[in-house]
Amino acid sequence: MKIAVLIKRVPDMDVRFKIAASGTNIDESGLKFDISDFDGYAVEAALQIKEKQADPAASEVVVISLGPDVVQETLRKAMSMGADRAVQLKHDAPVHDSSAIAAALAAELKLGSYDLIMFGRMSIDTANQSTGPIAAELLALPIVTAISKLEIDGGKVKARRELEGAYELIECPLPAVVTIDEGIARPRYPSLKGIMAAKKKPLEVKPANVASERYTLDKMELPPERAAGRIIGEGKDAVPELVRLLKEEAKVL
């Protein structure tokens, strides 16, 4: 079983972002970066598949990331979790067009004859949710997206996708592309042993071939500040006002 996992380096989300002077990026100073959440689940799911094989050593998990040299840190993190080797598709400028990214990734994936190609269901920063499906199309491989359960059984992918108030059970033959939703597996915490081992694992750097973009970022802005806590009233008399606000302002009812 040869598995590729495509991962992206993203900033930690538990901060209040500032917009950089360019207006088209966040101010990255002081931010910590890590593997995108869904990509982390994908790495974990891949490792679990490998570990379940009759002969895990005969399987390989390759992590691939497109970006500048800092993504090597993210690739090492995935290798510290247990991925066997890594490929950096070096590209320094930010790319927003999923088609352009997918094309560059597909070119690399084509060379690897992978049995299974895994993406996170989306990158948690730009959240375009399209790179995996477009790459699958370019590779002419079947794809199952946003899966919360995955089983490889007799050359087949058996997966589950959560829907609104329901779920689907899906099958497709290997080789295939899948994109991973949360709930599949909590990423393991890399042990120091893993971190040490990752330093010695192969990391190949190749230039990425990124085509011109037809989907371009014009501007980034912050949403309106969330109003500070508001006490709308006392006792049960405040309930009608609460229900009105939930309906009209928060639109959650």
Partner: protein, 638 residues
């Protein structure tokens, strides 16, 4: 035994040589076992301190006397053995060299005194042994029970000692063949005893004194500081998985332990029904060592002897270490095993993952925006180090706020109160604001040395950048880390806990208090923080601070206080773990505090604040929980 024939002298000499030969064989065997421990652990530094420990804790039985009943009993046997060993030596020499006596070598009155003491101490030992047997058989003292104990061994040993005394007295009181028989019985019992020791937990008798001498639990070195790991060294194992990964000294602890159970009897986890027993940890080390020495590689100390559940129950409160009469360091074994779990195998309770991740990503165990760290200071006109540095100024002290003080709503009140005190006292201070990161204590105690060193080094870099000399903090964990463990990485600062700092400000008359201190008499109890107390020996400053702030205050002590204080349950990363087994430790402690009848519980640690506060809320009581800084701030003249 002057009338002994020369034939019997020869036989006796052979017996003595055989007995000592066998004993020395066993000593070599045991030394060989100790050498299985591969972790380097030099112990020959600061000899004066070691002699002092040897005298105080060893010879004068300082810790033994912490138990009012067993203390005198044990001391009588111990000192009695010391005195009687001289007599035994004389007897053995006389057995080989008929007619030998110390008498010609010392002045007559001295010899008379010695002889009198032999009988006196013999009687005392006999009485103590009788009492010990009586206590063992009839009282079922709780701390002496436990699955890990060798319950019959003490009965054998006590009887053996009793028989030694009786045969000694009886041989003195008889003549002829009866004397001869008793003499031989006594001598053989002595030599047998010597050779039985290496095969029982009563190896304690010979190992304890060296163990006290070689121990670091009462110094030398920084008390309670964890061993720094060299993370660059490419080791196959991290921390300890088996006895080979421990040090010879940690293994020696196993030989010194006589299973008295004082450690387990004060362990907050054990008291409240968790699986952990510090005594079992030590007994397991010894048991596993014996098996490993015989070449048994089918098992490991971790998992086969000591389970994960036991290890994660530990609050690192240090009560076990504090209590041990022979200076065993149970905690160091627990922490090394935790290191192996986390660093080597990434095995830990899943609920601590968010704390690890957040410390790494946001520099705080709580998943809050680091940008909000100084939010509490909004409008209080408190400069950051960066702001002062910009103006080319340097504050008198850096106020290290800590994560709880920065993000926890309840603790923020303490933070503000302490800042008010500093301001009222005219202290020129600054904070780090967003540049402050978690001190890393919880990470380190949870075994994550990698994460800890990352945080420690980041913090040291920041402190160095501003040339910080003096740090004050309201958090005992920050206090202990920055002051006691950061020096391991080159961070040397004068770190003062806020209790000590406020007390010194008040003593210097720098805190302007209200004139009309006519408050009604109030009764508080003070809950000692482990990292302030047992780790740093600060017991009086917080109490004194309270008394200075509230002259009419009546402080009532809980039954377990000061160096016997019971942990709140949050230490060692327990704050970030679930407590599903037994009674919650904080509930046990809060019940104890409430039972004093005090109207409030004073604390000096944000973790204690949370634990005590939570528990008091679950009880039907009006008892409140305050930090000492809040008490003082409430008395500031406005």
């Amino acid at each position: 035994m002057t009338e002994s024939s020369s034939a019997s002298s020869v036989i006796f000499a052979i017996v003595v040589v055989a007995a000592f030969g066998f004993f020395s064989y066993n000593v070599q065997r045991l030394v060989g076992e100790l050498q299985l421990g591969k972790a380097p652990d030099p112990r020959w530094n600061d000899l004066p301190r070691r002699f002092w420990n040897f005298l105080q804790i060893g010879i004068f039985q300082k810790k033994i006397f912490r138990d009012a009943v067993a203390g005198p009993m044990h001391a009588a046997i111990f000192w009695g053995f010391g005195v009687l060993t001289l007599g035994t030596l004389e007897m053995i020499l006389a057995g080989i060299f008929p007619g030998f006596s110390f008498a010609p070598f010392v002045p007559a009155p001295a010899y008379a005194f010695y002889e009198m003491n032999q009988d006196l101490w013999g009687a005392l030992v006999l009485a103590a042994v009788a009492f010990a047997l009586f206590r063992r058989i009839t009282k079922r003292v709780k701390r002496l029970q436990g699955k890990e104990t060798h319950a019959n061994d003490p009965l054998l040993i006590l009887s053996w000692i009793g028989a030694l005394m009786i045969t000694m007295f009886a041989s003195h009181a008889t003549t002829g063949i009866a004397h001869e028989l008793l003499w031989w019985t006594h001598a053989l019992l002595v030599l047998g005893f010597l050779n039985y020791l290496p095969y029982s937990k009563h190896l304690h008798v010979v190992v304890s004194l060296p163990n006290v001498f070689l121990s670091n639990t009462s110094g030398p070195g920084v008390i309670g500081a964890m061993r720094p790991m060299d993370l660059e060294a490419d080791n196959a194992t991290f921390g300890a998985k088996d006895v080979e990964d421990l040090s010879w000294k940690q293994l020696l602890d196993g030989f010194a332990c006589t299973e008295c159970g004082r450690c387990t009897s004060v362990c907050p986890a054990n008291i409240t029904g968790k699986l952990l027993s510090p005594r079992k940890i030590v007994v397991n080390v010894r048991e596993r060592l014996e098996a490993a020495a015989k070449g048994d590689h089918s098992k490991t100390l971790l998992d086969d002897f000591i389970t994960e559940e036991e290890l994660w129950s530990c609050t690192t409160c240090r009560a076990c270490v504090q209590e041990c009469p022979v200076s065993i360091d149970q905690l160091s074994v627990i922490l090394e095993l935790r290191r192996n779990l986390v660093l080597g195998e990434s095995r830990f309770p899943e609920e601590i993952m968010p704390a690890f991740e957040s410390m790494e990503q946001r520099g705080s165990p709580w998943a809050f925006d680091p940008g909000d760290r100084a939010k509490w200071a909004a409008g209080l006109d408190i400069p950051t180090m960066a702001e002062m540095a910009e103006r080319n100024e340097r504050p008198e002290v850096l106020y290290w706020v800590g994560c709880m003080g920065s993000f926890d709503d309840r603790s923020k009140k303490t933070t503000v109160a302490f800042a008010r005190i500093l301001k009222a006292a005219g202290v020129n201070f600054a904070i780090l604001g967003q540049e402050e990161k978690c001190n890393g204590d919880a990470a380190r105690r949870m075994g994550n040395e990698y994460l800890y060193q990352m945080l420690a080094k980041d913090n040291i870099e920041t402190l160095e950048k501003y040339g910080v000399k003096t740090v004050v903090t309201a958090c005992p964990h920050c206090f202990h880390q920055i002051g006691n463990e950061y020096p391991q990485f080159g961070g040397n600062y004068d770190v003062v806990h806020h209790s000590t700092y406020i007390e010194s400000l008040m003593a210097a008359g720098r805190v302007p208090l209200r004139e009309d201190l006519h408050d009604p008499v109030r009764t508080f109890t003070y809950h000692d923080s482990c990292y302030l107390g047992r780790y740093n020996d600060v017991y009086d400053a917080p109490r004194e601070t309270l008394r200075r702030a509230l002259p009419m205050l009546n402080i009532v002590e809980m039954p377990r206080s000061k160096d016997r204080g019971l942990c709140c349950g949050a230490g060692g990363g327990r704050m970030f773990m679930e407590e599903k087994v037994g009674k919650r430790i904080n509930a046990e402690r809060a019940d104890e505090a409430i039972a004093t009848g005090a109207s409030a519980i004073a604390v000096a640690c944000p973790f204690c604040m949370t634990m005590m506060g939570d528990s008091v809320k679950s009880r039907d009581t009006s008892v409140e929980v305050f930090d000492i800084a809040e008490v003082v701030a409430g008395q500031i003249a406005t």
